[in-house]
């Protein structure tokens, strides 16, 4: 019996109709593709009226297949599958053709775009005829959650879940949780002390009965899928027994080896070879830096071991790999600071009194290396003039195109601290001052009143080459003041570069491990930038905080809580629906060669030794198709991606090749302006 296919071509307002002649596409498909019973176009197919139209057609015309030509299936496939279900048609008998992202948004020539749309729709219709009904599976959700990253976003997510009564594993790469926020002195715009609002959360996480804190550990591997992930966590050897250590701190105090602390103190201060990053660290268990430790380098010392009252030092400790089962994973892996030496014209690393924003945070911090005193690199001279250079590495086509979002407010905060702690004049060199959140603009006004100077212009260079006697011994900030319309040279003593927020160096690797992606600027990609900002394209993997894009503390906290809420919803529901798009083995044809087992990246194929055949565990199978392509006897087939379906799709696509109009519409390729780096 022939199928009855209904084809629905969407205008998407002018999004598609502006570039594709949708009426023509609907007409052509109706006349030229076999078994098409209905072919319509409509302004907005996803609207309730559009959906109703499809539903009524299915019922009144007895449609057995539905094709919608509209946007990307990642946006509305679900919507239309739902429509089919409502009309008692199995949702997997539906197929979507993407004529927006793949046609109208990327084409300029209307005739050519219309041709391309026809082919895609014909392909979808031919494919749909070979679809079969499929039923999604329900699997239970493991209630435990893995949170990766113990900065403020990860802490918030952890606490929300733990307080709701669900178990959480919190993995942190550094010896202590706290993240960048632990390094800050004050937080804008309220100027409350960063540690004072952070450390209570840290200790709550450390003591929470539902939280398993895995500090000094890294996520190694993720397998399985939403509801039932299996993860491997590598616990690095810190050479201190976590159970015996009481956190008394005698080991660090007595350790004779001091090194520059490039992590927590941003290179401005020192720490011992056995250390906790800062006094309020959670956990309080120190770790040994083997590159610095005299024992590991020269087989001498062991002072910490001799002096530890709890006998917790263990030089033979080995790293271990933990295997955990979790239902969902929240990534809160944060950001790293832009390397300011990449702006050699600003002199960082060459001119001693040029600082990065993280260095200056530590300098302002009362618990920091200078005890909160703002001084030059010599450690004693107070500056008379301080320059704060915005957008160092942000909003620069050759470095990072994006705005780092937090630096304007941080610069204002620095301005306030300098004015409060010293008698210095403070200059801000900005492109635009961006203070758009609650109470931020008021803070800007406050600094204007406090007497911070604002010069609008991107700094050309910071140089020690003076031209006049009053410039001698100073750092000169050369800038075009775009409000005055002239060049200015401002002599200062200390320069703070507001370095950009950048994605972590291993963000792409983290994305790969979790089966998600990084965008063009390197940040982890959310499912939808507006409507689904904490989910990702992989179900059960969520992102929050600065790993998803530059963000300040309030925004990170909000996202941490949002991600936790999404996870709570999944746990509360108890089960998760798994797409039935999986492979299956035809036992008759399977020769038992087990090639599929060695290739399956998800460990989803099992071997039945009795029958000597492979069998797919549908709950683990992700439908990647590797086994289907590899199977030498053709025993493996991928539901919803059978050979028949794909060949029919190709046939539909190629049917347009012979169309005579094609050649006539070919235009010479447009000249494209390219700017090479």
């Amino acid at each position: 019996m022939a199928e009855k296919v209904g084809v629905y071509v969407c205008h998407c307002g002018s999004n598609i109709a502006g570039t594709v002649d949708v009426e023509e596409v609907a007409r052509w498909v109706g006349e030229n593709v076999q078994d098409v019973a209905v072919s319509r176009d409509y302004k907005f197919m996803c609207s309730s009226l559009g959906q109703q139209m499809i539903e009524e057609d299915i019922r009144s015309q007895g449609l057995s297949r539905v094709v919608v030509a509209a946007c990307s299936p990642s946006l509305h496939e679900k919507t239309f599958r739902q429509v089919c279900r409502k009309a008692d048609l199995n949702p997997y008998l539906f197929q979507m053709a993407n004529i927006r992202e793949q046609v109208s948004w990327v084409c300029q020539d209307k005739a050519a775009a219309t041709q391309k749309a026809k082919r895609l729709v014909a392909a979808a219709a031919e494919r749909a005829k070979h679809h079969g009904p499929l039923e999604p599976m329900q699997v239970p959700v493991t209630p435990a959650t893995l949170v990766v990253g113990g900065g403020i976003a990860g802490l918030q997510a952890t606490l929300e879940l733990a307080d709701a009564g669900y178990p959480v594993y919190l993995v942190e790469r550094e010896p202590s949780i706290g993240g960048h926020m632990a390094q800050f002195d004050k937080t804008f715009p309220t100027l409350d002390c960063s540690a004072c609002i952070l450390t209570p959360k840290m200790s709550e996480v450390g003591q929470h009965e539902n939280v398993t804190l895995l500090a000094y550990s890294e996520l190694e591997e993720v397998s399985g899928s939403v509801g039932n992930f299996k993860v491997k966590i590598r616990r690095k050897a810190g050479y201190v027994d976590r159970d015996k250590c009481t956190g008394c701190g005698i080991c660090s105090e007595k350790c004779p080896k001091k090194v520059v602390d490039y992590a927590f103190e941003a290179g401005l201060g020192t720490r011992k070879a056995i250390y906790t990053p800062f006094p309020q660290a959670v956990p309080r268990v120190p770790v040994i830096d083997t590159d610095a430790c005299i024992w590991f380098q020269r087989q001498k010392c062991r002072a910490c071991e001799k002096l530890c009252p709890a006998e917790a030092i263990d030089f033979d400790q080995q790293e271990e790999v933990l295997e955990l089962e979790v239902g969902n994973i929240i990534l809160a892996t944060g950001w790293k600071l832009f390397d300011c030496t990449r702006l050699p014209q600003y002199g960082y690393g060459r001119l001693p009194n040029v600082y990065t924003n993280m260095e200056f945070e530590r300098m302002c911090n009362a618990a920091g290396p200078t005890g909160g005193k703002i001084v030059l690199r010599d450690g004693k001279t107070e500056p008379e003039t301080v320059a704060i250079v915005h957008c160092a590495g942000s909003r620069d086509a050759s470095l990072n195109t994006y705005c780092s979002n937090v630096c304007c407010m941080a610069a204002l905060k620095f301005g306030h601290l300098v004015l409060e702690k010293t008698r210095a004049e403070v200059y801000s060199f900005y492109i635009d001052v961006r203070t758009s959140k609650k109470d931020y603009e008021e803070f800007y006004q406050r600094l204007l009143e406090e007497g911070m100077h604002f010069v609008r212009g991107k700094v050309a260079e910071v140089t020690e080459a003076g031209r006049a006697p009053f410039e001698e011994g100073k750092l000169i900030v050369q800038v075009e003041d775009t409000l005055l319309g002239r060049q200015r040279r401002v002599p200062v003593d200390l320069v703070v570069l507001m370095g950009a927020m950048e994605p972590q160096a291993d963000a792409p690797e983290m994305a790969r491990k979790c089966g998600i992606s990084c965008g063009a600027t390197g940040w982890l990609t959310e499912r939808h930038p507006k409507l689904d900002p904490v989910a990702t394209m992989t179900d059960g993997i969520f992102v929050c905080g600065a790993c998803q894009g530059p963000k300040d503390i309030p925004a990170s906290v909000a996202q941490g809580a949002a991600a936790a809420a999404r996870v709570q919803g999944m746990i509360a529901k108890g089960t998760v629906t798994i797409e039935p798009i999986t492979a299956s083995a035809d036992e008759e044809r399977c020769s038992g060669c087990r090639m599929c087992i060695s290739l399956c990246p998800y460990g989803a194929v099992e071997f039945d030794a009795d029958k000597h055949v492979s069998r797919v565990n549908a709950a683990l199978c992700k439908g990647c198709g590797t086994c289907v392509a590899a199977c030498p006897s053709g025993a493996m087939s991928g539901a919803h991606f059978t050979d028949k379906q794909i060949l029919a799709e190709i046939e539909g696509m190629l049917r347009g090749v012979a169309m005579p109009e094609d050649a006539a519409h070919e235009e010479p390729r447009r000249k494209t302006e390219t700017v090479s780096a």
Binding site: P344, T463, E464, A465, G466, R467, K671, E673, T674, S676
Partner: protein, 298 residues
Amino acid sequence: MKYAYYPGCSLERSSVAYDVSVREVADALGIELVEIDDWNCCGATEYFSQDELVACSVVARNLSLVDPELDQLIASCAACYLNLKKTDRLMVEHPDLNAKVNEALAAGGLSYPAGRVRVRHLLDVIHSDVGEAAIREKVLRPLTHLRVAPYYGCQVVRPFGDFDNPEYPMKLDELFGWLGADVVDYPAKTHCCSGHMTQISEVQAFELIRRLLQSAVDRRADMILCMCPMCQLNLDAYQRRVNGYFKTDFRMPIVFFTQVMGLGLGIAADRLGFGKEIVPAMPVLEDKLGPGALESVA
């Protein structure tokens, strides 16, 4: 290592010292320079603002004359480097311009497929293709105690230069580090030499030149190293006028980097064009590098 070579007009007249020292250094480093046969003007600074199509055609003629066996062209003059590179790039990016330029070339029986020749500055070739190890090996007279201020100027690093940081280049600094010199951190290294401002408004030019000289003096540099004939001329030839105008007493030798590099490679000063400069460099060199510093090292 074999490259096509475009000397340019300055190197035949005002900057003979650059030309002879480039050839000596190239020879010592095993760089074979194949001079373009019958090369013509690069258009200098002015011509491009008069008529871009004609300017590009004039420059493209030089590119079309590059030996078909070779696909890399060395220029040592900053303006020539810029114009050759710019023309090739414009032709690659604008097919219509490319077509017109080739039409003009065809009238002379020539053609140039855009992008065929990679235009490189001599410093780039020395720094990257010869490289640190080979250069360190060839140093016969380490330039120890000689404090040099590396001056890049504008055209080599901006806007088409592609081998060094355009804001704060370091390749010349590094090269002279390998030669054993005491390289001063010269913050004015890319600042303006005043270009042709000497012809338009002398006073403006004098101030720009003064800043460059003063910055080198402040860093106790013995001499400024140039890689552009215009920079060298302005700083050297106008130094006396600058002194007169500002009542200063600059006596800063301004030489081409290849001249001093040649000394480091053991070549005698008289083969490197020393003596052509107006503020004498040789007494300083002898003073810093010791007796016999100007002789050849066998």
